[in-house]
Amino acid sequence: MTPLQDLPELGVGLIYWPRFEGLLRLDELPIDVIEVEPQPFWFPPSAPSEPFRVDRRAFDHLAQLPYRKLVHGVGFPIGGTVAPDPRQLEPFVESIELLGAPWASEHLSFTRVRREHGDEVDAGFLLPPLQSREGVAVAEHNIGLLKEKLPVPVAFETGVSYLRPRAGELPDGAFFSAVATAADCGILLDLHNLWANERNGRQPLLEAVGDLPLDRVVELHLAGGDEFEGYWVDAHSGLVPPELMELARAVVPRLPNLKAIIYEVMPEYLRENRISPARLAEQFHEMRELWDTRGTATATRAAGRGRPGAGTAGLPSPREWETAVASAVMSGRPDGGELADSLRSDPGVAVLRRLVGAVRAGKVADTLTLTTRLLLLTFGESGFRELLEEFWDSVPSEQMASDEAVNFAAYLSGTSTIGDVEHLSDVVRFEVAAHEALMANEPRTVLLSGDPDRLLSALRQGRLPPALEPGRFEVTLTPPR
């Protein structure tokens, strides 16, 4: 395995989304590298025990982009007691190999919890692990598994936490340091996460960075965020705030093995916040200047203090913690014991609940867009939100958006809503069949009761469909050529 210091220097870049290509010219941006989150470009397994399936159309497209590529996992964070999903490891390795990534990263968080009767459930969001000695051991174990399976070095991302620090927990920087040292791995230093932590009452960024073994930092993430209910959230919604860029100027010279600086922004926010390609290019020039300072002030101690001596006795076990956090955050799960009850008094939990709801609503809106519009037009926002909340109370989140869509479609079909809303049954059937056609790359046929052209045209324009003559329409959905 290549030692961290011998990894190639890739330069500056961004997390890639196909939607960028409809919004800006990538070749006009001064970037060297793109980072790919591979799981959005996978399909669910064809059988429960089978691995997830790489969408070869997406990877063929990614491979032809003229940049070096990195792989950043979003499907099996390594901070929890539920081990990385073995069904994701094979396509993760395939993704790394298809893109020629020299290292790969995952999050020091958890998203899945094991319930009392043994099955696993998705919490719908990256959640913070317990920062204890046991928590370090859990992450060390998971990173060890990844190191065995992956053909390239592994780094973990320093996470965001909206929860208050708990008495007895390791400070953020000490926790990251202990995990990196125990697991003997790289660090993806997400400065925006650390800045959010500082702004939300956790350890100050520079103090946390001072606790890190800085020679293990191979990659830096920068991003913008938003104020949300009194918290600074890691929304990837804007340009890097000047204050954060200034902090980055203080940190980057202290990183002797930095190999890439990556900017994160969601394509939806480029348009929403009117971030022009010119302003984006200007920021990448700033990032290039930052890149040029890497390792120029490393005469000082590279290894962080880590403050590993602090005891973490009296804290819950990692599994107790995960169960309690998930119970406090997820809809329809009032259990979780005293710890969950105490967590519910943390205002950060209320923020997390809202964010989880937004993600679940976003998955439905993005994958069942026409169904979403029909329900919004029929019930209005509050009525549709009530419907979504009933769905969330009844059905746990799914990692894959396509699974969440199928679950919502099935949920709707079991309610009176499906019969009460004119054309809803047709629209749901149409959209689910469209997903199947895309994922199987084969045509799918559905039977609709109204003219699909008039029905779909209205919803595409954001209008309620007109009255349609009843009929019998056999609609074949064809996949992209």
Partner: protein, 78 residues
Amino acid sequence: MSTEENAGKILPVNSTTVRVSIPAEVAFDLERFQSVQKDILGRLGCMACCSGWDIRFELQRRFVVDANLNVRDHLSPE
């Protein structure tokens, strides 16, 4: 959705059934049909690495028009 845009073909099969062929991408409400391939990719898999506010539902909410056909907002390309 024009017939030309969605490449749909409406073929009468018999007096009661009409057979239609529509590209699956239509379900994703593409704003620019020519960028179909780029836009669809990545929408059926996992969520992004983002621990903030997901705006996708909000964008749809603003897109629809109200009962009086007043457009609240529009996502047309700038």
